[in-house]
């Protein structure tokens, strides 16, 4: 047991949790203290050392007096026509948030029925050893967001959950629970960004998603924080019969950026697509661990992550696919492609396939490579310098995935920001749509 673990539990005394969440918290606190702290020998933490985090002082929670960040929000938010929830250092900001529909509520404002939904689903996907920081999320459980869509309903607008980290030294526990009942659908965007290059806090986040029979979800998780940020987060999903998930994840690098996806096919006919992009630079680190479990037959999963790792940055990708012996007729594909743009950059990629059924179709591939020399030659033969060509190809490498983002506002928000990282501007797209409009 480490000081960090103790410190973490001491923070709970500064919370005022709902009584109906108390038993979950208490049990999790015990579990958290009982878990061994990950070392370099711990399989899931091999390449992402937690020594720095261990030395981090866990500061108090964010305060209720929310600073005014109007301009900042204006500059950083995607212009989504959505139900918007803004959190500053983990504290809900009612002034900048929208009026919420009946389907969206904070745990602290939940009625009895909603509390029952939370108690039924919250924390049910966590496996202690694998999801240490999910256990911490439970121990720190103070409040959260419930999105509960009843059967046969479609949320009429996306839900846009924005989490801003200021320069303040604070600890944040961000919790979201999404429950889609049978035949319902929703679109949810979770967006993390920093209000200041100075980041002294630690963010622990957990989103749990239950997709009922025939229900479908589009889910986006944008980790666009500054490079001093320390964030450990996870998305846990259960898919029931004929459920559909279309997920997209993106992370810029940070001092510590570790995101776990745990996805379970629990009902036949489920389909999931998960795509991700990471672009750590300088001394940053990004670590995606994904674990897709096919527990039942006739499900499909398709996962593709791409990263560009530059300077002295480090990327870790671990993609596990587990196919239970009963999960016949599974179709599973996993691809992870990495581009190294510096000799000091590092990638550790590991696809893990565990297949116990005999009638399945699985494909996986992980590559770490340099740029395609044929493509570079083609661009140079049209007058682009070698470095221009390399930048263009690098952006193209991740833009291939950006192009597939289904939500157009999210696509139009991310693409120019990512392009800017590669020194490209957006004037052509603007001119093109301008001319397109004028031509009718």
């Amino acid at each position: 047991m480490t000081d960090f673990q103790h410190q973490a539990i001491r923070l709970t005394s500064m919370q005022r949790p709902e009584t109906w969440l108390e038993s979950l918290r208490t049990k999790a606190a015990d579990d958290w203290l009982a878990q061994p702290w990950p070392t370099r020998k711990t399989e899931h933490w091999k390449y992402t050392p937690l020594q720095n985090l261990q030395k981090t002082i866990l500061h108090a929670w964010g305060r209720e007096e929310v600073p005014l960040l109007d301009t900042l929000l204006e500059n950083n938010l995607a212009p989504l026509n959505a139900y918007r929830l803004i959190f500053i250092d983990g504290v809900f900001d009612p002034f900048n948030s929208s009026k919420l529909p009946a389907e969206v509520v904070q745990f602290s404002k939940a009625n009895e029925d909603q509390q029952a939904v939370v108690l039924k689903y919250l924390g049910t996907i966590i496996e202690g050893e694998r999801h240490l920081f999910a256990t911490l999320s439970n121990a720190w459980l103070d409040d959260g967001v419930l999105i509960h869509v009843p059967r046969n309903q479609k949320l009429d607008k996306p839900v846009y959950i924005v989490n801003v980290s200021t320069a303040a030294p604070v600890t944040t526990n961000q919790r979201v629970l999404i429950v889609l009942e049978e035949n319902s659908s929703a679109e949810i965007v979770e967006h993390y960004f920093s209000a200041d290059p100075v980041q002294q806090g630690f963010v622990n986040s957990l989103t749990e998603i239950h997709i009922g029979d025939n229900a479908s979800l589009q889910h986006y998780r944008l980790n666009l924080e500054e490079e001093q940020a320390q964030h450990i987060g996870a998305v846990h999903v259960d898919l029931q019969r004929n459920a559909r998930l279309r997920g997209f994840a993106i992370a810029l690098g940070a001092s510590l950026m570790r995101i776990d996806y745990q996805l379970n096919h629990r009902g036949q006919g489920g389909e999931l697509d998960l795509q991700g992009v990471y672009v750590p630079r300088n001394n940053q680190l990004v670590d995606y661990h994904t674990n897709i479990c096919h527990w039942v037959p006739h499900c499909r999963s398709n996962e593709a992550f791409r990263g560009i790792v530059g300077d002295s940055a480090q990327a870790i990708f671990n993609g596990r696919i587990y196919i239970h012996q009963h999960a016949q007729k599974t179709l599973a594909e996993l691809s992870n492609k990495n581009l190294l743009t510096s000799s000091k950059a590092e990638v550790n990629t590991k696809p893990e396939l565990e297949i116990y059924a005999d009638d399945v179709r699985c494909a996986h591939g992980a590559t770490v490579s340099q740029l395609n020399t044929n493509a570079r030659y083609y661009l140079q033969s049209r007058g682009l310098s070698r470095s221009e060509a390399e930048v263009m190809l690098s952006f193209g490498f991740i833009n291939e995935l950006l192009e597939q983002i289904a939500q157009p506002v999210v696509h139009d928000y991310l693409q120019p920001r990512l392009a800017a990282l590669f020194g490209r501007d957006n004037s052509l797209n603007e001119a093109s749509s301008l001319l397109g409009d004028s031509n009718g």
Binding site: S381, R382, G383, L384, R386, L435
Partner: protein, 249 residues
Amino acid sequence: MLRITDLFARVEEKEILKGLNLTVKPGEVHAIMGPNGAGKSTLGNVLSGREGYEVTGGKVEFNGKDLFDLEIEERAREGLFLAFQYPVEIPGVSNMEFLKAAVDAKRKHKGDSELSAVEFMKVAREASKRVSLDQAFLKRGVNEGFSGGEKKRNEIMQMMLLEPSLCILDETDSGLDIDALQVVANGVNAMRSPERSFIVVTHYQRLLDYIVPDYVHVLANGKIVKTGDKSLALELEEKGYAWLEDEAV
């Protein structure tokens, strides 16, 4: 314009060009024909500077400069253009971004300012019309999912936008149906001028019905073995290459 003197080149230790001589003057159209493996594509690749093609002898003078002193992109900016036999697909890089970067590189080289996005889009749309390529192709990834014909039309569109002084067409006719062939040929013919030269590398005489050459050369075993006017192409169509290959050995 272009003077190739006694050019030797190899790919992976294999000598492909073995003493090739060719002079192209401004405004001329030269067709290069020859059997498979004669070195036709190697010539285009060597001239444009592709990696892996090693020049082992001879020299090439392009607009008064030693071509081999120039990087790939410098050759392009100086006015050399190679229309690829197999244009490269580059998913994720939008065709219009690529085209604008190419046009801007050329303009900067000449001391002109870059085009604004709107100016460029107008020029690009005009060019796409001239090669009957839907404007939607400007927004797609470079050659991504284009059919063979669409790729070749994209090559010709690039040629129009870059206004090179020497255009090398490397088997641009391969894989084209007759309609696409006409579009490509019309594009080339529209660009013919007293200052601009063409080297049309082809396997078949068919293309030369549309792009009428001033000279026809036969490339066999790494060098030009026969030169004539357009009637030579018809003769080759009839007799094949074997009689010339024998001469070359």
